[in-house]
C-alpha cells in the first residue's frame, strides 16, 4: 500500500538541546496511529514540525509525494494536513460558529451546506450547546473539541490530534473515541498523540512509541502495548 505520509530522518534541535533525533515515520491511508511516549519525548514538537510551525533541521517529509519541507503552515493545511494544538491559547471576540464556518470556507467543503455540516459535527462532538458562545467563554475541554471540529472541517487527508483526551471526562472521551472511529470509516487518516492509553487502545490500529526524539517501536496496538519498555513507562 502506498504511504500517506512519509517522514524520513528528520531532526530538530533548539539551541543545544536536540528534541527530535533522526526520526522516521510512515502513516498509511485510513489508519489511526497513536503516538505515545513520556513527557518531553517530542510528540508535540513532531506535530509542529509536520504542520510547518517549526522548521526541520534536516530530513524529508512527504504527503503523497508532495514535499512538506519549507512549506508554510497554511499551505500544509491546504495540502491536507490538519492539526490541533496541545496548548491552545484563548481566542477572544470570536464565536465558535464563526471559527467553524471559517474552517469550512477555507477547506474544500465550499459546496456543502455549511450550517448543516457544522450542526451535525457539533452534535457528534457534544459542542452544540456552545455553538453560539464566545470561544474565550467556554471550558477548556470544550475548546479542545471545538478545535478538533475546526481541524476536521478543513477537509484534511490526515488529522493530527494532540492530547485531545487530556481533561475530558469519561463521557466525552467515549464520544471522541467513537467519533474518531466514525471519521476513519469515512476514509480519514488520523494520528493521535496522548497519554490516555486506555482510550488510545480503544481507537488506534497502530501505535508508535516515541522516546527521546525518535521512534523506538512501532506496530499493531496489541504488540506495542505488550512491549516491556512501554509497559514500564505506563505502568501497565
Amino acid at each position: 500500500m502506498v504511504a500517506m505520509l512519509k517522514v524520513r530522518n528528520i531532526s530538530k534541535s533548539f539551541g543545544g538541546v536536540s528534541v527530535i533525533r533522526d526520526l522516521s515515520l510512515t502513516v498509511l491511508p485510513g489508519e489511526i496511529l497513536g503516538i505515545i511516549g513520556p513527557n518531553g519525548a517530542g510528540k508535540s514538537t513532531l506535530f509542529k514540525l509536520i504542520g510547518g510551525f517549526l522548521r526541520v533541521d534536516c530530513g524529508q517529509m512527504n504527503l503523497l509525494g508532495l514535499s512538506l519541507v519549507r512549506m508554510a503552515p497554511y499551505a500544509i493545511c491546504r495540502a491536507g494536513i490538519a492539526l490541533t494544538f496541545q496548548h491552545q491559547p484563548p481566542i477572544r471576540y470570536f464565536k465558535v460558529r464563526d471559527l467553524l464556518s471559517l474552517a469550512c470556507m477555507l477547506g474544500r467543503s465550499r459546496k456543502i451546506a455549511d450550517a448543516g455540516v457544522i450542526e451535525e459535527l457539533a452534535r457528534a462532538l457534544n459542542i452544540e450547546s456552545v455553538l453560539d458562545s464566545d470561544l474565550a467563554a467556554i471550558g477548556h475541554p470544550q475548546v479542545k473539541r471545538v478545535h478538533l471540529a475546526r481541524a476536521f472541517l478543513t477537509k484534511p487527508k490526515i488529522l493530527f490530534v494532540d492530547e485531545i483526551f487530556a481533561g475530558q471526562d469519561a463521557e466525552d472521551s467515549r464520544i471522541i473515541c467513537s467519533w474518531l472511529l466514525e471519521a476513519r470509516r469515512s476514509g480519514l487518516t488520523i494520528v493521535l498523540a496522548d497519554h490516555q492509553i486506555g482510550y488510545l487502545a480503544a481507537s488506534c490500529d497502530k501505535m508508535a512509541f516515541l522516546v527521546a526524539g525518535s521512534i523506538d517501536l512501532t506496530g499493531p496496538t496489541e504488540e506495542v502495548l505488550n512491549d516491556s519498555a512501554v509497559r514500564q513507562a505506563y505502568l501497565l
Binding site: G51, G52, F53, A72, P73, Y74, A75, C77, R78, A82, L83, T84, F85, Q88, P89, P90, I91, R92, Y93, F94, D98, L99, S101, L102, A103, M105, L106, G107, H147, R150, A151, T154
Partner: protein
C-alpha cells in the same frame, strides 16, 4: 432604533449647514481623524498590528499628490491614483520583510516608527520636496468655503465606515480577526496569515494616503515634521484606541471626543497656554487605558448594560 439612527445621521449631515466657520473646521478635523482612525483600524484593530507609523502613508500620500498635481500639473485623478499607487508600493515594500521576519506586537510598532522617522528625515533633507521649508500649495483653495470640504470628508468617512463594516462581516474580516487572536490557529485553518496582514496593511495605507491628500487640499501647506511626524501617527492611533478597536464606531467616537478636546483647549487657553491641549490629550489616553482598556464605546456599552441590569434587578 432604526428611526433614531436615521435622525442621528440627518442631524450630523445637516450640521455643517448651520455651524459657524470655526466649528465647521473642528467638524472637518473630527471627521478627518475619524476617517483616518477607521483606515488605521483595518490594520490596528482588525488585524491587531499596532502601527505607530501611519504618518508615513499620510505624508507620502499628501506629498506625492501635491507635487504631481501642483508642480508637475498632472490631472487630479491621475495624481491621486499615482499617489495611492506609490503608497501601496511603499506598504508592500515595508510589509513583506516585516511580516516575513515575524515582527509582531511591540516590535512591529517600533519598526513602523522607524520607517516613518526615516521618511521624515529624508523629506526634511531633500530640497526637491521643500526640505525644512515645507511645501506650499497654491493659496487659492479649490472650494470657496469650508462647507464643501465638510461634505467631502463626511462622504469619505461614511464610505470608509461602510467598507470597514462590510469587510468585518466577510470571511476575510473573520480571517484577519483570527490572525490577530492567534496566528498559528489561523494558519492551521488554512489562512495565509502573512498575506492577510499584508492585505490589511495595504488597505489601511491606501485609505490613510487618501486622508493625506484631503489634508493637503484643505490646509494647503505641508511640512515634514507635521506630515511625517510621530505626533500624527499617535493621533491617528489614539482616536481608534480611545474609541475602541473592535467596532466601526470606535474611531469616530474617539475622534469626536479627542479632537474637540485638543483643538478646543488650544483655542480656549490661547497662546499663553501652549501645551494644554497635549496635557488634555495625554490625560484622555491615560484615563482610557486605565478605565476603558477596550475603548470608550465598549465602556459606555458596559456601563449602560450594567445600569439596566441593576435597574431591572431592583424591579424584580
Amino acid at each position: 432604533m432604526k428611526r433614531s439612527l436615521a435622525v442621528a445621521v440627518l442631524i450630523v449631515v445637516s450640521l455643517p449647514l448651520w455651524l459657524e466657520d470655526y466649528y465647521q473646521h473642528i467638524m472637518i478635523l473630527v471627521c478627518l481623524f475619524g476617517y483616518l482612525g477607521i483606515c488605521w483600524n483595518i490594520l490596528g484593530g482588525l488585524a491587531g498590528q499596532l502601527s505607530l507609523g501611519a504618518s508615513l502613508f499620510f505624508g507620502a500620500g499628501a506629498y506625492t499628490y501635491s507635487i504631481l498635481h501642483y508642480r508637475e500639473a498632472l490631472p487630479f485623478g491621475m495624481s491621486v491614483g499615482l499617489a495611492v499607487l506609490l503608497v501601496l508600493i511603499l506598504a508592500i515594500a515595508i510589509g513583506i520583510p516585516t511580516f516575513r521576519f515575524g515582527l509582531s506586537g511591540v516590535q512591529f510598532s517600533m519598526a513602523t516608527i522607524a520607517f516613518a522617522e526615516m521618511a521624515r528625515i529624508l523629506v526634511l533633507h531633500e530640497p526637491f520636496l521643500g526640505a525644512a521649508e515645507g511645501f506650499s500649495l497654491p493659496f487659492q483653495s479649490v472650494y470657496p468655503s469650508k462647507l464643501e470640504y465638510c461634505y467631502i470628508i463626511i462622504a469619505l468617512l461614511v464610505s470608509a465606515a461602510v467598507a470597514f463594516w462590510w469587510l468585518e462581516g466577510r470571511n476575510a474580516g473573520l480571517a484577519l480577526k483570527l490572525v490577530r487572536e492567534h496566528e498559528a490557529t489561523a494558519e492551521a485553518t488554512g489562512i495565509n496569515a502573512r498575506a492577510s496582514k499584508l492585505a490589511a496593511l495595504c488597505m489601511s495605507a491606501a485609505g490613510i494616503a487618501i486622508g493625506g491628500i484631503f489634508y493637503a487640499e484643505y490646509f494647503l501647506y505641508l511640512h515634514p515634521d507635521s506630515e511625517f511626524g510621530f505626533d500624527v501617527s499617535v493621533r491617528i492611533a489614539a482616536a481608534s484606541i480611545f474609541g475602541g478597536r473592535v467596532s466601526v464606531l470606535g474611531p469616530v467616537i474617539g475622534s469626536a471626543i479627542l479632537t474637540p478636546l485638543a483643538e478646543g483647549s488650544r483655542a480656549l487657553v490661547g497662546v499663553g497656554g501652549r501645551g494644554v491641549h497635549q496635557i488634555i490629550h495625554g490625560l484622555a489616553l491615560i484615563v482610557a487605558c486605565v478605565f476603558f482598556p477596550s475603548g470608550i464605546v465598549d465602556g459606555i456599552r458596559r456601563v449602560i448594560s450594567e445600569g439596566l441590569r441593576r435597574y431591572h434587578g431592583r424591579d424584580a
